[in-house]
């Protein structure tokens, strides 16, 4: 009985001490030193980038389509239009590149080491020519590819399947659809082409709203 009481007292004392310590800890912004240490633990959002909270990262892993846990998103404070894209890989270190395509939101996102470096509005397959869902490695890259199937130019092609489904540059506009490929603005496709290598994984998902 005595020992129990002593343990409880000790725990309470520890708690009070911790509370004291928490109060006396300098808040971020008090000095430059604390700011830098705080940055090391929690990256601060910048003008171009929003860092995700642990909750948001957990949500990403649960929702699927993210090959690795995303760590930050590009700051896009607007509704993107057909043909719009964002690209910013400033300060993003080298790492594995993954591409996520969501057919519901019609968005393609490129991640390098978990940090989003590009996003664009994408076209996908028409109802009779559906884009397959799943994870696909980039099988082949072609800078000036011309489709033998449709006799149409497909610049900066990243082929995903053996039957010709690919990500390539196209005229992204309202009301258009593809024969199963994923179409992105050609300027974006060029950057994508340069940022990826054969074998990088592409996840095509259709999220539920």
């Amino acid at each position: 009985m005595k020992w129990l009481a002593l343990t409880l007292v000790a725990v309470a004392a520890g708690g009070l001490f911790a509370a004291q310590l928490g109060d006396s800890r300098p808040r971020p912004g008090d000095s430059t030193e604390t700011v830098t240490t705080a940055k090391a633990f929690v990256p601060q959002d910048t003008a171009a980038r929003v860092y995700l909270t642990p909750e948001q990262q957990r949500e990403a892993s649960a929702d699927g389509g993210f090959r690795e846990t995303p760590r930050s998103l590009l700051r896009v404070d607007r509704r993107m239009q057909y043909g719009d894209f964002e690209w910013n890989d400033e300060g993003v270190p080298a790492g594995p590149v993954t591409i996520r395509v969501d057919l519901r939101t019609q968005l393609l996102s490129v991640f390098r080491g978990g940090h989003e470096i590009g996003t664009a509005v994408a076209l996908y397959g028409a109802d009779r020519k559906e884009t397959p869902l799943g994870n696909f490695p980039i099988l082949w890259k072609g800078r000036n590819h011309r489709s033998s199937l449709y006799d149409a130019p497909m610049p900066y092609t990243l082929r995903l399947t053996g039957d010709g489904v690919a990500i390539h540059g196209s005229n992204v506009r309202w009301g258009a659809a593809t024969h199963g490929c994923v179409g992105v603005p050609t300027d974006f496709a060029r950057r994508l082409f340069e940022a990826t290598r054969t074998g990088d994984m592409v996840s095509i998902v259709r999220t539920t709203s």
Binding site: M1, T119, Y124, G134, T161
Partner: protein
């Protein structure tokens, strides 16, 4: 009577002490689990869901995506293939070598294996009709070797240059093992665990003898 009261008093005192300790030690728990530095983060950011962030930049769901006019015209026009190419794709040739096509009478009687209607990728009548010199199905999706083994096209092979959908989407293996696999592993461990002391006992016995 008196003894019972003391016991009750003791119990009350302990309960009170435990409550106090619980309340007092709460900061300890928070600082040890929360890391301390995250405490000052605003709750507004965590409230915003990742999917909501992505939805906010999306142009919205596509209502009705139509194939582009130019592509449809090209697709409808009969294609002029290069004469050097074989009339049947290599995979189809291989399939024909392995499983020789049955006589023509058998084809009429035996209905070909068709993809389940749920997949809704290609229309079976269009596939079998195979407009002479026209455009193949070109369905992008989980590949089904249509017209490869059992039903050679009536026109003597598919149009040149058009490869049928033959490639399957690679199956995604789960990181979590199947229950059966897991049970087998546990069984193996159990067997090793049971065998080890037995062997040791036997060795001891043989040493004594």
């Amino acid at each position: 009577m008196w003894g019972i009261r003391t016991v009750q008093k003791h119990k009350l005192a302990i309960a009170g002490l435990m409550c106090l300790a619980g309340v007092a030690s709460a900061p300890l728990a928070v600082t040890s689990f929360g890391g301390g530095s995250d405490l000052s983060l605003p709750g507004v950011k965590t409230a915003e869901r990742l999917m909501a962030m992505l939805d906010a930049r999306s142009p919205g769901e596509r209502e009705a995506g139509a194939l582009t006019q130019s592509k449809r015209r090209l697709a409808a026009a009969p294609r002029v293939g290069t004469p050097g190419k074989p009339s049947t794709p290599p995979l189809e040739q291989l399939a024909q070598v392995i499983v020789p096509p049955p006589p023509a009478s058998a084809i009429v009687e035996v209905p070909p294996i068709l993809p389940p209607p749920a997949s809704g990728i290609v229309e079976p009548p269009a596939v079998l009709a195979g407009a002479p010199g026209g455009f193949g199905p070109g369905g992008f999706g989980p590949g089904i070797v249509v017209g490869g083994v059992g039903a050679p096209p009536a026109g003597g092979g598919s149009p040149p240059g058009v490869s049928p959908p033959t490639t399957e989407v690679p199956p995604v293996t789960s990181a979590v093992p199947e229950p059966g696999t897991w049970a087998m592993m546990l069984l193996g461990f159990a067997m090793i665990g049971s065998a080890m002391p037995r062997r040791r006992r036997r060795a001891l016995l043989s040493a004594r003898a």
